[in-house]
């Protein structure tokens, strides 16, 4: 069990470190790619926890999502090169307190609660994927399809909102 513990701690540390870098760096593209590697570290944590399908899915999805986010950051930020070391924050003390309290509360909940005995054996990757497939298209068919539909409506809505209204488009 110790190898798994080591990998978990290592990838977890990487995820948290990249998460902190996201808000400390001045260059926007570095911040976006820091988030990308933070999510990849999370994906590797899933692999370390033997959830193979979820880990691979997370690594795949996040690479592309965060790249798209990188382009949006560069579009909408004042100084994406990060050369001017601009201070892009406000109400720092409040948010520091909020974040700190959040962490402390969560840690307290984790360490004080009694989670019960840990289960050692886990079904093999192929079985997991097969079970997940049957679950998605069996019992939770409704939830799965509604999630798909939500993504579709979100895509359509976002595109409608983003496209310039006809009258305002300067010919």
């Amino acid at each position: 069990m110790t190898i798994q513990m080591f990998f978990l701690a290592f990838f977890g540390g990487a995820a948290v470190w990249f998460g902190i870098v996201v808000f400390r760096t001045h260059s926007m593209v570095r911040s976006a790619l820091a988030l990308l590697f933070s999510q990849t570290a999370v994906g590797l944590m899933f692999l370390a926890m033997q959830a193979e399908f979820l880990g691979v899915l997370q690594i795949m999805m996040m690479a592309t999502e965060m790249s798209v986010m990188a382009i949006f950051m560069v579009m909408f930020m004042m100084d994406p090169g990060g050369m001017g070391a601009m201070e892009m924050t406000h109400q720092k003390r409040l948010s520091l307190w909020a974040g700190g309290l959040g962490v402390v509360a969560a840690l307290a909940a984790i360490w004080l609660a009694n989670w019960g005995p840990a289960v050692a054996e886990v079904p093999s990757a192929a079985e997991q994927t097969a079970d997940l497939g049957r679950e998605l298209l069996g019992r939770s068919m409704f939830i799965f399809q509604s999630a798909g539909l939500t993504i579709l409506t979100a895509m359509v809505a976002a595109t409608m909102v983003a496209i310039a209204p006809q009258k305002e488009r300067p010919e």
Partner: protein, 103 residues
């Protein structure tokens, strides 16, 4: 009370704190969306940790992780749709200037 569960959940907690700090302290809508993404990632970590160490034979937990990934995608899409619309009308996505959201 396996120790790995504790590590995973603590990582989740730390990412949650970082995401919360980021979402609250940044002035730009895009950075706030990144903060929220970090919070959702923390939720993902917790979910998989619970599945792995408490209910490994329950595929519903894995399905729930997929739903959270869908939520991340949707949140980002709609967030940037609004950012573009706002940028077109106001010329800025700085939240400081979002005092008057009319029009």
């Amino acid at each position: 009370m396996s120790f790995e569960l504790m590590i995973a959940l603590s990582v989740g907690a730390a990412m949650f704190g970082t995401g919360l700090y980021g979402a609250l302290s940044q002035t730009n809508l895009v950075m706030i969306i990144m903060g929220v993404e970090l919070v959702l990632a923390a939720a993902l970590v917790n979910l998989v940790a619970f599945w792995r160490y408490l209910h490994p034979d329950e595929p519903a937990a894995q399905m729930f992780v997929l739903i959270i990934m869908a939520v991340m995608a949707v949140e980002m899409t709609v967030g940037f749709g609004i950012a573009i619309a706002r940028f077109r009308s106001r010329g800025s996505v700085e939240m400081e200037e979002a005092r008057e959201l009319k029009g």
